[in-house]
Symmetry: C2
Subunit: 659 residues, 2 copies
């Protein structure tokens, strides 16, 4: 055992060159000079306000206001709410050139998409265009993302359509249906703005990345399946969205319900769109090919139907789009009555999903161009945009993945590209909507299918499988929930699994047995470092989480079970039994009253077994509470050490000197 002893000595020297003399004779029980620091006492209100600040104002939004004169503060305040006054001052012709090209590109992409997405939401086609006119203008003034392209999106349209259809049938009662849609849009905006104002933006972080990947993939497949109606020219189509009902609908109508002319148009243009997509993917500078392909398809197919009068052979066409810009719709919102609560409920769900998508897009592109997005401010902008939208005949708009990517590659510089797009949509509404009369529905279906294919992210799913199996289960759960049941159920599964994961993490934190890495004074998890050796007579456990009421019992019992296991093994090997239990507290960032009780109970249980409890490196909050609760006197002040190495060298000498 002499070698161990000398090793111990070496460690002690390592620990502290100043305390060399005192450490060297630690076998005589000399005290260590490294005390565990107790942070300066804070009063209650300071502590509480710090916690509040870190929770709700962690981004320190008032920072630029500090030490500024009043007039400057006012300008900064206006700029904070309307970022256009900030970036607008540096705006120049070069930037405008980029925005103009990007704006025209996304406009050509959004017009056919909007008409299709409005159908997904069971609304007349012009409502899709309306939603690409007003909301982008509001966002351009208030939003802080430079790359996001605002408008209706596929997933939110589908979700809104499903939820609204559950309440009112859009065929039997289109007026109330539309009114409920505006009501939901209004409350979606209210939800978004409220979350931003109350600085509760972090709530959307509760939908995990994996759950979103699964949900989006499932929604994309569901949307694509829905398009089979337009694509195959089926008249009697199910109103359910699950894959089983849809496939039954498709096969039941196979003999008499399909229209071959429609299929020919659909298949040829879908091939064209996918080819364009492929070209755009291969050569980044040809990004405009897939971007304008949809508009070209619409023009070509409309012209084709117009000259051949294919609509007389059963090719379904758009027939009618209302001409002119958004009519006001304030009167149409249900502010009272039975549908108020329903609109509110649908609005909250749609608003949250729209928010998640917009914030994810904003963050992605912000990190690519390395600028910061203020999530809470962004929510206020999106919320205002939807509130105004609901009063001008728009339904829920948000950031679109596909159009934002096109916007980015087309070289957008600021939110002006959204204004350009908005103007193009305005001109379309004013002058050329009648031309869409002969546009075949199959083209819209093809455009939607080619757009949503991007939402199926196989590579992300594979990466999730590789990195975290539990995440993959969440991803699959959301995916199958959407395609086999419905969008709401998929969303519910996604949220539940995400929450279950959080609860699991909180109730069942990890613990590890530490061993000494040979030749160092470093103690590490023996599962990760198999070469690490246990110190005879000492068990070192690391607790890997704050100790709270939700896990204090588990942690106490887990430590005692480690001990029982260890003692059984030692007995079998006729090794000396355990005399010290060192709890490495480095990862324990906080402890509450239940945790303190658990420590006391642990100490008591160990006392009955003649084992001494020793703590290593409790953090600032923990040491504070250990003192406040007098657990430190219970365990013994001299049983609390700065490092595991110091703790071991105070416990071990006795054992080492045994024969």
């Amino acid at each position: 055992m002499a070698s161990v002893h000398s090793n111990e000595d070496l460690e002690a020297k390592d620990m502290d060159s100043r305390s060399l003399s005192s450490s060297r004779n630690h076998s005589q029980g000399a005290p260590y000079i490294h005390k565990v620091g107790v942070p300066p006492k804070q009063n209650f209100f300071k502590e509480f306000s710090n916690t509040l600040k870190e929770t709700f104002f962690s981004d320190d939004p008032l920072r630029p206001f500090k030490h500024q004169p009043k007039s400057r503060k006012f300008i900064l305040g206006v700029q904070a709410i309307f970022p256009v006054f900030e970036w607008g001052r540096d705006y120049n012709l070069l930037k405008f050139r980029g925005d103009l090209i990007a704006g025209l590109t996304i406009a050509s992409l959004c017009i056919p998409q909007d008409i299709g997405y409005a159908k997904l939401a069971n609304l007349a086609p012009q409502y899709g265009l309306y939603s690409s006119f007003v909301p982008p203008l509001i966002y351009a003034i208030m939003g802080s993302s430079r790359d996001i392209a605002i408008g209706p999106v596929a997933v939110v349209s589908l979700l809104l359509g499903t939820l609204l259809q559950d309440e009112i049938d859009h065929v039997k009662n289109p007026d109330d249906y539309r009114r409920l849609a505006f009501t939901a849009t209004f409350f979606a905006g209210i939800t978004q703005a409220t979350l931003g104002i109350l600085r509760l933006g972090f709530l959307i972080d509760f939908l995990s990345h994996a759950a979103i990947v699964g949900f989006m993939g499932g929604a994309a497949i569901t949307i694509a399946l829905q398009q089979l109606k337009g694509f195959l020219g089926i008249n009697n189509f199910t109103k359910k969205s699950d894959i089983v009902s849809v496939m039954q609908s498709v096969f039941r109508s196979a003999h008499h319900g399909w229209n071959w002319q429609t299929i020919v148009i659909g298949v040829s243009f879908l091939s064209f769109l996918l080819l364009a997509k492929y070209i755009g993917k291969k050569k980044k500078n040809l990004f405009w090919v897939p971007a304008i392909a949809p508009l070209i398809s619409v023009i070509l197919s409309t012209f084709f139907v117009y000259i051949t009068h294919a609509e007389k052979d059963g090719v379904a066409i758009v027939r009618h789009i209302e001409k002119g810009i958004n009519p006001p719709s304030v009167d149409e919102i249900f502010f009272t009555g039975h549908y108020l609560a329903k609109g509110f409920k649908i609005g909250v769900v749609a608003g949250m999903v729209a928010l998640t998508e917009a914030i994810a897009i904003g963050r992605t592109f912000a990190s690519m161009k390395d600028y910061q997005i203020d999530g809470n401010k962004e929510m206020v902008a999106l919320g205002t945009m939807n509130i105004v939208g609901s009063m001008t005949s728009c339904y829920v708009a948000t950031g679109s993945f596909s159009r934002s990517a096109v916007n980015y590659f087309a070289g957008c510089q600021t939110a002006v590209s959204n204004i350009v797009m908005s103007i193009v949509v305005f001109l379309t509404l004013q002058f050329i909507t009648p031309l869409f009369k002969y546009t075949p529905n199959a083209i819209l279906a093809a455009i939607i299918i080619s757009a949503v294919i991007n939402l199926i992210d196989f590579q992300a799913a594979i990466l999730i499988w590789k990195i975290d199996k539990f995440d993959f289960v969440a991803c699959l759960g959301a995916f199958f929930g959407v395609i086999f049941v419905s969008v709401e159920i998929g969303l519910l599964i996604a949220v539940s699994i995400s929450f279950a994961k959080i609860l699991l993490q909180v109730t069942r934190p990890r613990t590890a047995i530490l061993g000494k890495i040979p030749g160092t004074n470093v103690y590490r998890n023996i599962q990760q470092y198999p070469e690490a050796t246990k110190v005879p007579g000492v068990m070192i456990v690391r607790v890997d989480s704050a100790i709270y009421f939700s896990n204090s019992n588990y942690i106490k019992e887990r430590i005692l079970r480690w001990l029982v296991d260890e003692e059984e093994q030692l007995k079998e090997g006729y090794l000396p039994s355990i005399q010290f239990l060192i709890v490495e507290m480095s990862p324990v960032t906080d402890i509450d009253t239940s945790g303190i009780h658990a420590l006391e109970e642990l100490h008591r249980s160990l006392q009955k077994r003649d084992i001494q409890l020793v703590l290593a490196n409790p953090g600032p909050l923990v040491i504070d509470k250990i003192h406040a609760s007098h657990v430190s006197t219970l365990i013994g002040e001299d049983r609390i050490f700065l490092t595991v190495a110091e703790a071991v060298s105070s416990c071990s000498p006795k054992l080492v000197e045994e024969p």
Copy 2:
């Protein structure tokens, strides 16, 4: 800077005696020999089943069954479900003596309490006694706590009474009220047993200790206030339980509604009971004084009323208690219809609260006598007891704080004390209930008041204030919720605050800036150790939590904000700017796909600022996922170190050698 340099060298030597030669010339860039360990690869199913096991079977319940013959396994199985077969075999006369005394003591305490508690639940007095007859017998066979005293308790009675009264008025429709009470009891039992069987016992850990303290205190005050009706002899009393309504009721009836004879009886016996309590507290061996005081009060006051015929002067008396033991009540449970769902809902809430109380009691006394309680098994026992109870005219029974304490001090040895109590209650029901006819209600009120006073735990509240301010807010919230609104609202507040705390912990984990403790190679939080010094050109951040989707964005942004703050300070002091950011990962026990993305984004942001990201001591799961996602190649394998000290000494030399 020479001194720093030599210090660095010293550290490197400290780190590893074996790598002395390689470390000494680290300024020439020689590699370190301490690799971060990668744990042996586990396959998916093993990993998944380990997680499942740790979550649901963390107590390893099948452990004793290992390596046993079949017959032994069968016996162990029976013993596991009916612990009576385990402890019954060692039962002897000495133990019985302890149980007999304890059983008689708690019986004398429970009989008057039961009658009073039944009134709290708006049920006839005999139902309280019924609930102290059957449930304790079932528990004695199946339960694993040796000290718990089973029967109706004040808080659950009040909660049940409030929830039932919300559905059915007990005065107008007593039969349906009673039937709903049995239905709720049935589902309370089903809930408890199901939680146990599904091993979801950890769910009750989500009610924090602090919230329970507040809830119990509030409930005690509410119950005491309710007793003013019986205590002051008021006839028209509010049905609400909040303090405002009750005090209004009391003052409104002050002129004509109070009965002085009742008050005299009440006050004198309450003083007697409190005196007895005080004596019991002062001298532990006089524990029986407060235990039998209630029965003595009942006997004395009943006799007094009987001879003086005080009931003719307006002293309210019990009047009638049904004679005989529990009638069957299976037919009375609503298994169909409108009330099924309501009974279910009430049952789930009452069952959870009852469970929380029983498990808390079981754990407290088990830790005092140092034996283990199996939470899940206990839940099955309590659930079965309530299911059987609901079929034999009992309402929800659970462990009583006050009676369990008396049981413990009276020297109970096993659950036989519950059987003894049950037999006494049986004899009471069979023979002496008619004698309670003249018992004044004021006495029952006094008994309940003196019993619930114990539930107000000032010292616990003070300790909570000292240890954790947030916990104290939860405690106060639950307390005021109960006394100013209602029991349900108080409970809801308690649960919500507990959950909010968990979510807060998960979304806003702590981060800390580390510094070097002078003369050591130990790096610690500079807020806790003000003497710790920063290393020039290097910023060291510790992340104090697993990095999950719920916090990955926050952590990334927090680290970048630390960096901005630090760089501003450095600029002001004309100090060298930061070139390395070391993230100490020791407390990061796990990372998911969102966390990996956050790391990638952090790396990208840092690259744009010419700062190198360095990781120190990633744990087994983290290093695994860093490799799986190829983040390790992105950051550089040689940028991941075993300790902060090694990371610093690889970063620092260049800086140190600058002029």
